[in-house]
Symmetry: C4
């Protein structure tokens, strides 16, 4: 009988590498934008946001069938909370493992971005991001993210998640004042790059609190809109269409 341990290890590997690459995409493109278009901050954000749309969408496609491609502790937590009703979704201990993998991977991704652009590998951002407007922005961005993911899962359209999640984040870079971090693991990782995409440590706690609040708002909203979730839809938040390995992994872990 197969050992479930490798399966969970593989899922944690997917979350670690996927979140790492996501952070490298966000920070790396921010550095490139800052270097190549020094005279227009809006053009930098356009370059940064378009890159994130392309990169995040692909990463969800690549890692989704293995781990769900959460790359985000609040997404994993919502998967756990909403899935408990049907005994599906991540377990509480899975969420801790996912979150650890996401944070470790994300910080490694920041270091990778620094190395690629010949910057000091370890650095701390001093970009302050604070204020009520920004926090409201994080609430809106995270609530929308959760609503997108759960709405697609509950209507059998999870195969659209890659494009939809990437598009939402791309839009929220612009229409929220906070440029839509919407992800505690990515927020923590962005402390470690003193560049365009960075955030200083003292700004992080309020951002994370706003993200948690946003996740709650999003979960309440989407539950009001789609109250009768099919049992199957609760088990994975961002699954892929074809998941030859996933079902057995899940039933064992």
């Amino acid at each position: 009988m197969p050992d479930p341990a490798p399966a969970l290890a593989r899922r944690l590997l997917a979350e670690l590498v996927g979140t790492g690459l996501l952070v490298a995409v966000v920070i790396g493109s921010g550095i490139a934008a800052q270097e190549l278009s020094p005279q227009d901050t809006g053009l930098q954000l356009l370059q940064n946001s378009i890159t994130t749309v392309f990169g995040l969408g692909v990463l969800i496609l690549v890692f989704g069938p293995v781990s769900g491609a959460h790359f985000n502790p609040v997404v994993s937590a919502v998967d756990w909370v909403l899935g408990r009703r049907h005994g599906t979704g991540l377990s509480g201990s899975d969420v801790l493992g996912y979150a650890a993998a996401q944070i470790i991977g994300g910080i490694a991704g920041a270091v990778l971005a620094n190395l690629m652009f010949d910057l000091p590998a370890l650095q701390i951002s001093d970009t302050g991001r604070t204020g009520l407007g920004l926090w409201v922005g994080e609430v809106v961005a995270t609530a929308g993210l959760i609503a997108v993911i759960v709405a697609l899962a509950r209507t059998g359209r999870a195969s659209l998640s890659a494009a939809a999640v990437a598009s939402w984040i791309g839009a929220a870079y612009w229409f929220t004042s906070s440029t839509s971090f919407a992800n505690p693991a990515v927020t923590l990782s962005r402390m470690f790059s003193d560049t365009f995409a960075g955030i200083q440590p003292s700004s992080v706690p309020a951002f994370v609190l706003a993200q948690i609040l946003g996740a709650v708002v999003g979960a309440v909203l989407v539950t009001a809109l789609y109250p009768d979730a099919p049992a199957a839809a609760g088990s994975v938040v961002v699954p892929a269409e074809a998941t030859p390995h996933r079902p057995s992994d899940r039933s064992r872990s």
Copy 2:
């Protein structure tokens, strides 16, 4: 036996929140663009239009299975008019409810955008938008919007509506002189933001008239192109592929 009231309430909630987020996307990204790229209005419109494409497409995916994701009184009205032949589509009173939810939600979205960017919550635009060229632009943009939605519904391709509607609006931001408001609820809401995306109240009536005229032109055109609508296609204008909740909602309301 289930009570139909929550079903209609859920649909109105979807139209309210969806239109609110759409307006927040349009106005919020306009504010960000204006702040970040102050020297090139075209670059601002590019940022604004790309954000709208991403945001609108996602919002249609999220809210479509609940309410049809109209977000637009003329779309709801066309759904009612074209659906009457088969006894499908929205009822006349549904259209009033939809329009009220869209307008209330839209204005709330304008306020939300103002709050996110630390601007006064309540403000009135003084951006005049008037002239024959602009009105022709609104007619073209709205006619095209109606044609896209109905053509896809009548050919069984409504699952493409999210991408197609978003793309049409994104194109019409540029190729019409009016930057394609194409939506009376969004037009009214944009009065409440004295920023890049605003429109002063005195310019609104002519815009709305042009949009109504455009909807008529679009409905006539698409009826000429696709005269034999299947009965099923008349019932919803922007449905989603998988709609576990929708059929019963509709038959009850």
Copy 3:
């Protein structure tokens, strides 16, 4: 028994309106780009090309099930030539009708764009576009266009035509030196706008010749790559997935 005449009329209406809107998209967005970003021609072309991708893709979706959404005389001609083997595709007289509708519609679209932007309705471009490099560009752009359309039709993936054709033209705006007119009807129409997207009459004949040559190159290439076209694939060049009206239209005309 139904009268075939309306069916052909409907197809010609689709080609006329579709080509008109395509030209309005191309010229209108060029005018807006020129007005809003006067200091950077590359930024103007970026705005123009992104708008064309969004607009052309949607127009193919809307008009495809009626007429094939050719919008382009060389596409119609290739449909006729390649379809003769199986007795499918357009007839020779259909091609003449299509071309007439495309040209008339295209010119009307140029006038519409001028009107929307409060420019003189009738004008002639004085933008010279001539030289071997540009002509090679038109050959490459048109050959690729034909290859994309026929390859997708011959492999049963015509539902991807809207996105693929739009993407090809968007790329060819940039990587060919001619900015990829690739369409005799659109080329003729662009004579009638003395703006960013215009072309002076004396430059048109060589462009059209290059486009015809490109169509031949594309047809030869795609026939070498996909020699065994299924009979069904020859009948329409840009069909849609769901075409309730099309089959009967075609068999009657």
Copy 4:
């Protein structure tokens, strides 16, 4: 009984023309960007990267059903290595043929781009691209490319390869410091254009070595994530959904 030779010839034709057009897209759009937006290098890279996304995606759609649309020797090599287990994939001699066609086609594409823009047909770049950061960038970009292709093939989603591969390259233009060549054939070809996209010959060997290393990293990663590849998934790396000609070609060659 049919002769297998034309089948292989057709596949090599597809790789030759496809890689040629890919290089023309990359170099041609770089030249146009440099000419049209001379004042902002970041804007040039944005134009170059968006064009590449559109162009590469279409080329994969067009040539995929014939040859797999590798356009890249390391992709062909990975197809061979990973496919050996099931006796599927390219043979070793196929890989040599593919690589030769890719390199010849790519260089011809560079010449074509030069001709379209009225530049000397033959030229050698003197743009140095060297340093640890850039090499790490090439490793990351190529590893990701391989992971995307193989992950989609192993989960039965190869029809998403066109969009996913194009999006990955578009993102990697920005988030890696090397602007993501990620392809030895394209790297060699870009020596032959002394323009925006060029690379001087002395910088090429290290780039190619980094790409080979990246391919190994990507293959190891994706094998760890998706260990149990179905036999069918090993046979082609970038297949198309509908491949009427392919199966017989492959079984004979």
